[in-house]
Assembly symmetry: C2
Homo-oligomer: 472 residues x 2
């Protein structure tokens, strides 16, 4: 959607529809007055962004809530997307949209209207940020699936919602249909969580699973994922961890009450994982998954995203291609696991509609001022972020073979006080490009890094070694 | 707690404490007035029932919310338990209870006071039912972990809460610390669930796991569970499925919007499962677990509780002794799994405190009338209940061996149109008491029962065969 001018292009509005009103001032009073005047009035909902998730939200709403309640408690009033007039006919032939919905490609029409709830599903930081801010400031509650926006500006937007007496919900922004965010903010809010770990990116999980099952090179698995629609043409956000760390930042916000910038979370790419790593991992009883993890210890948030060895028999090792898994650890409630479909239009739409039902219900209860979202009311921490986890490590070297290589590496590791656990070398490789593995006993990331630098400079190494944490 | 007279035994109140007031009339007005007058006033909380969970709730509250907020937003005002004066000193030496808490053994003191929220943790139907009803009628919100009360009277009590403009929350009544009920009522409320299945009883799971791992007789596993505190002296409620079916009824209420009496759900006991069944199950790639399941199909709720064969490698097969697992199936969101600690004081207390935080927050938001709980607002179904699932079956016979037994059984099964899948007979058993297994291809429960009756009457059978569904 292109940036829009702030003047209202009325010519685009269908003529028979109610014109939008300008209600920028005094949103709180308006909201309260509206709720107080007639709590039974239908809650007016606008949808901005009519892609896969937006269309699924509309279809499911039409099949369930709108069909069951008529237009009693909820009304879909606007659908906003660029080029809406050109695409509308194709959409309407697929989805039975209520005939009185206003179709527009100008989000200002929505912001200036009297809708109660705006569902933002266009993604990205702009213009989604302007839309969400504008809606909150106009006294409208907002539901979004926008992980980048919430990861970066969540605390500020939650404050804005609270200040305007409306709600901001983002249950669909992490793990699609897995209700982990609602669970964190309701059933687990009485605990004090100290750890969250998850498989949060379906693209990485698909690619790693394919390398594992077919023992194909990374590049081939990526091409296959792109051909099958599991990876975008530019999949960097997924492969290099940008997507997962935004989700991890949101989980840390909702579950650990930590405000952490996604950029401060280290992300390692999965591009350097090859088929041979699954052979060696298998000898260690493990497989390889992209794991996102965050542990809060005193004033430090240990957090990172990247490929990691996990036991084949562990919950992480058993996650299927399109599933997401989130594990939480609490001081009082212990460990919890949430597993389900991580992406896809329908599961994500369920999360959006669930948020919508709750917000609509709180408005229908005559509760214009809902006190904002739960995470704001708990004091937010702004901890130091560190990736200095202590774990055992998997180091996979690629070398031009010659005598004395292991001895030289062992010497360097020893000089850095790092203890070797095992050396694994499978037969049958070309000596000119020999992959072999050294595993280390638990040590800190910060202890390992200087040794990695020193080893990368050795003349027999073809490329810097692949280093992966081994999670137990 | 014994039934109490309704007169207020003031002599039991510590003298320096504020005496309880009688506010039985006009609860709604009072509630609204209170919320309207000073939304910032601390929310007053009373706890009735000071057993394992009650003490855990108090300890965790004192360590977290009360310590962090001082007495700002939440105040623990009453602790009610029988013989409270005699036990108080022992408790206070373990838990730092705020000094201004009123200790009482008369729940009327609580009901007649100005507390906003009553936490009911005494369990059972009476006097818990009177307490919950009395509190709701007096305009107090109620949080309970009472599965029997909610399973039997949930819909009626939710209506009562709604009519009085207060909330009734019961997140701790199923699966202890696993936030499945909050997830059903928030993150999954936008889906249309049609199936729920779970391992909901830790005692059964412990006993079956012990028979599996040690191949000991059922009676020995039960004694061991009792000695280690995992089973009560009279464990009938657990073993025979009464506990699990109450939980299943609550899951059906919250997740499937079905009002079903727990008694209408068939419960099979685990008492007839023996070590030899794990041998035969293992040959089928399975183990045995107590499974509770409910499937909504049109106007019928298929539901039952009982020991079932599940694949060793399935989520059910991997559940550890004290864990609970709940799987949900939704029309739009697909399958979801929730795993965690199913019982224990601390995990259950987390669920109670989570409910408390949400209710306290809605009261603090100036929202005296919260619209009741979510499940009431959706139309409740009252479906027919049936246990007529279609599955493959495991039939384990115990016979006095002689020629022609399998032929005779096969003849009966064939006459009932039941197809044999496999006959399993391990060597080494006494011929006078020979256990062997016939598995059947999928058929309905109602097709199987007449054949079971006919076979039970045969003179070579020592006892009626054990019949278990095989879940895939």
């Amino acid at each position: 959607m292109p940036k829009q001018k702030s003047s209202l292009p009325k010519s685009r509005l269908p003529k028979s529809k109610k014109p939008a009103k300008t209600v920028a001032s005094a949103p709180r009073e308006r909201s309260a007055a509206r709720a107080g005047a007639d709590p039974k009035a239908a809650c007016r909902v606008a949808l901005i962004g009519f892609g896969t998730v937006g269309r699924a939200v509309t279809r499911i709403l039409c099949e369930t809530v709108l069909a069951e309640n008529g237009n009693g408690s909820l009304r879909l009033t606007h659908i906003c997307n660029r080029n809406v007039e050109r695409k509308k006919q194709a959409w309407v032939s697929q989805i039975r949209v209520p005939s009185d919905v206003i179709w527009t490609d100008d989000f200002h029409v929505v912001l200036d209207s009297d809708v109660d709830i705006v569902i933002e599903l266009i993604g990205g930081l702009s213009p989604a940020g302007e839309i969400v801010r504008g809606a909150l400031e106009a006294g409208k509650s907002v539901i979004t699936a926008n992980k980048q926006l919430i990861a970066r500006h969540g605390p500020e937007l939650l404050q804005l919602a609270s200040a305007n007496g409306v709600r901001l919900e983002f249950g669909a922004s992490v793990a699609g249909g897995v209700p982990v965010l609602p669970a964190l903010r309701t059933g687990l809010c009485g605990d004090r969580l100290h750890g969250i770990a998850g498989i949060l990116n379906g693209t990485c999980n698909y690619i790693l699973s394919r390398i594992e099952s077919a023992r194909i090179p990374f590049s081939e698995a990526l091409e296959e994922a792109q051909a099958r629609g599991f990876a975008e043409a530019d999949a960097s956000e997924d492969l290099d961890g940008g997507d997962a760390r935004a989700k991890l930042a949101i989980l840390a916000l909702a579950g650990l009450q930590c405000h952490v910038a996604p950029e401060s979370i280290r992300a390692r790419s999965i591009r350097t994982v090859e088929a041979v790593d699954f052979d060696y991992a298998s000898e260690l009883g493990c497989t390889i998954r992209q794991i996102s993890r965050a542990d809060l210890k005193q004033d430090t948030l240990f957090a990172e995203v990247g490929p990691s060895l996990v036991p084949v028999s562990s919950p992480f090792g058993r996650v299927q291609s399109n599933q997401n898994l989130v594990l939480t650890s609490g001081k009082y409630g212990g460990d919890m696991a949430f597993l389900g479909a991580g992406a896809g239009g329908d599961p994500t739409a369920v999360a959006v509609i669930s948020d919508l039902m709750l917000v609509a219900q709180s408005l229908a209860g005559g509760n214009g001022r809902k006190g904002g979202a739960e995470v704001v009311t708990a004091a937010l921490l702004s901890p130091e972020t560190s990736c200095d986890f202590e774990t055992p490590w998997y180091l996979r070297f690629l070398v031009r073979d010659r005598p004395g290589i292991v001895a030289r590496l062992a010497q360097i590791l020893s000089a850095h006080q790092l203890n070797i656990d095992a050396v694994l070398q499978n037969p049958g490789f070309d000596k000119a490009s020999l992959p072999f593995v050294i595993t280390l006993e638990p040590c800190r990331d910060s202890q390992l890094q200087p040794a990695l630098q020193e080893m990368a400079a050795l003349d027999f190494t073809i490329r810097p070694c692949l280093w992966l944490p081994i999670l137990r």
